[in-house]
Symmetry: C2
Subunit: 795 residues, 2 copies
């Protein structure tokens, strides 16, 4: 690449909003953002493609599995942040050799990394694509996923735009990787016109044996057009060369090498003779299956019955749209946000035992996108509650699923989330019938109504407190790796205490507004307890200017100014605002300190200063790299809580700033190194300790952030919030915005809305031309379309 040709940063990331509302993000100079990625998914799998051509794939079989892996046996682990790429990282490469000049390039960019004249990487809703110009030809490479199968569909279109014939050797290279020390092979199957790589997932215990056909152990690459030659052997493909200049790419044809207990690869060669102005197009199907016999059906379904990749997937219409905001936030609201929520909830984060807090919060987002599905998911989850009211650490999605990894560690917060979810769900749907649905427990088949499940969750939370009324943290709360504060059964969490108050507050709200015939005495007791908890929070955790994070097994208060590191944590500040524990004066104080100690251009850090050495009564969190993940990154999930809390205390402007900082934009996109097609799990923090790294994206799409952001855009920013079947209108526009318009589906009706600042004294509504008194719209008729015009006063 030629550095002198670099464009100013504002040109690097272009967000194009097409007429069709089919959103697309284009990246024009990939070497300036080499980690940029896009992602696709279906119910069975996800594919995250780095703009250079590296591919991270995972599918459910039914446990998370891969059909394209590293060249060595990978550890089975959850999806990690900040992927470190290297030459043999799994990829989808299209080598192109110009037979006239001998020049070898590869699309998209890796592994040859020769910069073509033009190279653009694009994320659309249903596909990822690269547009390349080189040698006077244009190359359009696109990938989409099958709707149901574990299958990537790739299409390459080449047009010779010159007046000369163009002779190319095209070699498609799909990484298969080291699959198994028991069995791995690769060969070309003439019948199916596919490169077939078989493996036996390695195991040793008899109980782990899977009969043939039970696992999708076959990786295949099926070509629409028959290849001229092929190679199934990774090392033979490279020969004396390197992956950036493979020996076989310099030959007239590939060697048709088998892989016999060697690392396979799916490489095929196509000799192209492109006359002037002529074109070439081919599709490849790359995925996993249980048997070679399936390949015919797959070819039929995806190649013979489909004319091109354009028929893969359809953009989904959103139930909520708006225009008038900053372009990045607007695109997130209209496209990327709901998309991210659907990804999380369609795939359940690619695990069979999602953490309860993750599942419930992801499904919180779904309330605004697909409330029926949200309800089904929660009904499933609540039936895994124990009789004593305790929610388990993870929700098992299949019969064979087991609690793994972090779900084997006891956390105290899982019973909080169903209450928060239910309040949002009832407000949005007014589906009070849910409260009386009869559900079993994991340890009892005796059914109880949904509301009783919630009450039991509250009772459980209340039971897990010490004599001061503070909640035991066990081996972690929302913060997984805070595992050594309370393992002896004494340590308490300020956040969990506040979250318990929030759950209680939600419970009271649900009882008061949606549940009939609940005992007034019990409700009064809930109010009393709620007040008590907030008092206890203020008594034990308020440390002069902000709330501490907890008290360890040894009685040590932490998250306070007197400590060398971890002086201030964000979550207790946010949740003290949410729970109502923080008075206005305290809010003023703590917001000042958050601004001073935690805010950065990339968002609000989760704690500061980041720990640089182990603190044995806090735990694993302090062993993480400073500024990474829970150890003081800009952890977007926590930032979302913070923004939500800011909205609750009337800090609209700050809340909007917090939202905006979650998305890469302009200059800082290069520092973050990520496109605005998703909000990542975190950006590096430790802003004052390690400024050179601050802002770097984790590139991890899995985060509980997006549900809260989506909710805020609808309920807070636009102020279009449900309540007992009515729509309560109370916009909280940022100062920079004077005009908004959009669409909101609610109660079966469609509201086209405008929000305008005007000289009104208070929020004023007209609907279908008629003025509405108050800020509530009732008697909504399902199926109708309304035009709702909202006028709000200038600040």
């Amino acid at each position: 690449m030629n550095h002198s040709q670099q464009q100013p940063y504002t040109h690097v990331v272009e967000l194009e909003v097409e007429q069709s509302k089919s959103y697309r993000i284009d990246l024009h100079e990939i070497t300036r953002m080499p980690q940029a990625s896009g992602y696709l998914w279906n119910d069975q799998m996800s594919l995250q493609m780095n703009c250079q051509g590296y591919a991270s794939v995972m599918f459910m079989d039914p446990e998370p599995s891969k059909y394209s892996t590293a060249p060595n046996l990978e550890a089975q682990t959850f999806i990690q942040p900040e992927t470190q790429y290297y030459a043999h990282y799994p990829g989808r490469f299209f080598y192109l050799k110009n037979l006239a000049t001998g020049e070898l390039i590869s699309l998209p960019f890796a592994p040859c990394k020769v910069m073509p004249e033009v190279l653009t990487f694009s994320q659309q809703q249903q596909r990822l694509s690269w547009h390349v110009n080189h040698w006077g030809a244009s190359f359009d490479l696109t990938v989409a996923l099958a709707d149901k199968d574990t299958l990537e569909v790739w299409q390459l279109d080449i047009v010779n735009d010159t007046e000369q014939p163009l002779q190319l050797s095209l070699i498609s290279y799909f990484s298969v990787g080291y699959r198994s020390w028991m069995y791995q092979s690769g060969f070309y199957d003439d019948d199916s016109q596919a490169l077939v790589c078989k493996a036996i997932t390695p195991y040793q215990r008899l109980q782990d044996y899977k009969p043939d056909g039970q696992l999708k152990d076959i990786t295949f690459c099926l070509s629409e057009k028959p290849p001229t030659s092929w190679c199934a052997n990774q090392q033979a493909f490279e020969g004396d060369g390197h992956i950036s200049a493979p020996q076989q790419c310099n030959q007239a044809t590939l060697n048709n090498d088998l892989a016999c207990y060697e690392t396979p690869v799916a490489a095929m060669q196509f000799k192209l003779e492109l006359a002037p102005k002529s074109n070439f197009s081919n599709r490849w199907l790359f995925g996993a299956t249980t048997s070679v016999a399936e390949l015919d059906k797959i070819r039929q379904a995806y190649l013979e019955n489909e004319p091109s990749i354009a028929s893969c997937g359809a953009d989904i219409e959103s139930r909520f749209e708006l225009s008038g905001l900053d372009a990045d936030i607007e695109a997130y609201a209209n496209c990327w946000g709901s998309r991210q929520i659907r990804y999380l909830t369609d795939t359940n984060r690619l695990t069979t035992d999602p953490q309860t807090r993750n599942l419930v919060q992801d499904v919180l987002g779904l309330v605004y996108i697909d409330p029926d599905k949200a309800k089904r998911q929660m009904v499933m989850a609540m039936q895994q509650q124990r009789c004593n009211g305790e929610m388990p650490d993870g929700i098992l999605l299949t019969d064979s699923a087991e609690l793994k990894y972090i779900n084997q560690v006891p956390h105290g917060d899982h019973s909080v989330w169903p209450l928060l979810w239910c309040q949002a769900y009832l407000d949005e749907t007014n589906d009070v019938a849910l409260l009386n649905e009869m559900l079993v427990f994991s340890d009892s088949s005796t059914k109880q109504p949904f509301w009783r499940h919630l009450e039991l969750a509250i009772e459980h939370l209340l039971s897990q407190r010490d004599e001061r009324g503070l909640s035991y943290i066990q081996q972690g709360d929302w913060c997984d790796p805070m595992n050594m504060v309370g393992p002896k059964g004494k340590g308490v969490s300020s956040w969990l205490t506040m979250a318990t108050a929030c759950a209680l507050k939600s419970w009271c709200y649900i009882v008061e507004h949606y549940l009939e015939d609940y005992s007034p005495l019990k409700l009064n007791e809930c109010h009393r307890l709620y007040g008590q908890i907030n008092e206890a929070v203020n008594q034990h955790f308020w440390n002069g200017s902000w709330y501490a994070r907890g008290i360890t097994d040894n009685g040590r208060l932490f998250g306070v100014a007197s400590e060398p590191e971890g002086q201030m944590y964000l979550n207790p500040q946010s949740w003290a605002m949410l729970s109502g524990a923080a008075s206005s004066a305290k809010c003023f104080n703590l917001l000042y300190e958050v601004e001073r100690r935690l805010n950065t251009p990339y968002g609000t850090m989760m704690l500061s200063p980041a720990y640089t050495s182990m603190v044995e009564d806090i735990g694993r969190l302090t062993q993480k790299y400073p500024g990474v993940a829970e150890n003081g990154s800009v952890y977007n999930h926590a930032s979302a809580f913070y923004a939500y809390a800011l909205y609750q205390v009337g800090e609209h402007q700050h809340a909007y700033q917090a939202l905006k900082r979650m998305l890469p934009k302009g200059a800082d996109a290069l520092i973050r190194g990520q496109l605005p097609n998703f909000i990542p799990n975190y950006y590096r923090g430790a802003y004052y300790q390690n400024p050179d790294y601050a802002g770097r994206s984790s590139h991890l799409v899995n985060t509980g952030t997006c549900a809260w952001v989506y909710r805020m855009l609808i309920e807070e920013l636009c102020g279009l919030k449900g309540f007992r079947g009515r729509l309560v209108v109370s916009p909280k526009l940022p100062a920079s915005v004077n005009q908004l318009s959009g669409k909101r589906q609610f109660a079966g009706a469609t509201f086209n809305f405008t929000i305008n600042r005007s000289s009104v004294q208070s929020v004023s509504l007209t609907m279908d031309g008629l003025a509405i008194s108050g800020q509530q719209i009732s008697d909504i008729q399902s199926g109708r379309r309304y035009q709702l015009n909202i006028e709000v006063p200038f600040e």
Copy 2:
């Protein structure tokens, strides 16, 4: 490389036996044997270096660990065969840039893979080295291991042999790899002059927490001379380039980049100005430690107190030496064989829970090398026996060790091996005191004498038989993955039945020759049972021309001619000869069939034809790749049993052929792809099914083969076998050998011996010039040296 310059194959591998008896193997054309490797070890670690510069390291911490790993999170698994190398496989590379010409090469060969004018890879006992000539300079690169620490010592000596100054940029590159998703970093520590890479071994459960300093989580590279510049960041090192042409290697200096939660590397640059005929030398210490504070001590111990790498380690004098055999076998007998046994027993195969059968057989080899240590190891192992006589699946070596992987699968054979070991040990040492040593059990602190432990093992073996007297196989016997023959508790193993007879035979031998006051009635009963077992074997397993392998849970006899695959297995044939079940006529029959069905130029296959699909009543074995490991490879451990059995039935010539085929030699070394510095776990089999791959080495040093081979060389080939403190002389020379000489330590004395064919009618001995009648030497005086001359008749 220039293929036209290739030498005939016989020049490729040169075995040089130096005057000093310091054995060395040189490989001159590494691209013709690119997987060739050598290995080093100390009590804590092993290092297997591929001739190109790729490094496989493992150390005990106390569980097996690595300080130099792949660029992604590796699965924790046992050492795998047939390592698949790739560009970022962990390596030790020394980039050299000629500043006059700009040419970049790397030593030893990877990753640049530019062939220098001269390149020789050498294995010596205590070091591995490469000699290179290029640019008129010579480069000598050597690695040795520290005696005790987890530490590689590297030395590079450069001599400018020209009359011109030579300006070089030398960049040492030691792979550190992706270490942890919790914490990883790399930086240069000025105080210790070391590149320091810290990591936290990732974990989630509280019980897995290791306080600081408990694990050797720091990888360091300490240089004798200070570098000009450094880089601790793998991706930054490569920049826009590749590992074969890193961007920073083309700069005047490296960028002194940190690794901050990024994949670290230990790269250092040295600017060299070599005047004509001048030289440069530097040493690097690369290893793992618990804290940076240790680095000073390490520098002191290995650099300041040691003048050069030559002081690392000392060759060990062997208790057994011979000369007069084929060079490859002779070198194995005198150097590589005992070395391989010492590696296995010093490291316990780099696990904290070696399989019982492995440990006992490795220690069988140690009987001839270090009998005191062999005894200590067996005393430790026997104290893990259960009261019911059953030996456990693995022997736990540390307090925290647990049975892992294959040791969680119940196998029926572990109680066999102590009997076989003890017979050999008593013959070699006459240490009858061992039999009365009082040892506890794993489930009882009540001590019993060693002999009673053995008797209990026999009783246990005898109890695990069906009504026909055949031994239940459970989920495997010697053959680990034969796991579905008997999981229901019915399936039986012919091999295990024969092995039980062998154990009983050894027990009778021990009782008759070494144990006083044993009940004659019980001994008689043992003899009777032994005869009964052999009868049952012949009744149920002899299938006309050979012995079947077992009868499955469903009553199906397998390992017979009527099956499509797995018709014949080697082990039942070998052990029927060892147990005495096979009559002479049966031996004749089965040897003919082994020759016809299992023999290959690379040794005898373990079974044939190899399975190509799952057989559900045999098991995991049939899922392995055909010709690999237990599925029909030339599995050397089984070949060793076969050779040992051949010696027992008087087939000396065939036995010697079997031994010779275990070692790469001449033409076939290129096919095997391995140097004769160790006998590998297996060579690929499936000779008739997949001939292109047959003979390929697994390159896996871990194998139970070498103990048996070493024993055979001493006791069978040279025929110098102990018995009740006497030396029984009965050489079994191969036809090609008429003269042998050597040295054998026995009973504290040293025997210098010669074996010559002559016109004698039977074996004739003279000792120190005096004729000895019979074939036994008794009254051996410890500390004395004897000259033993043996004459044997021509065949």
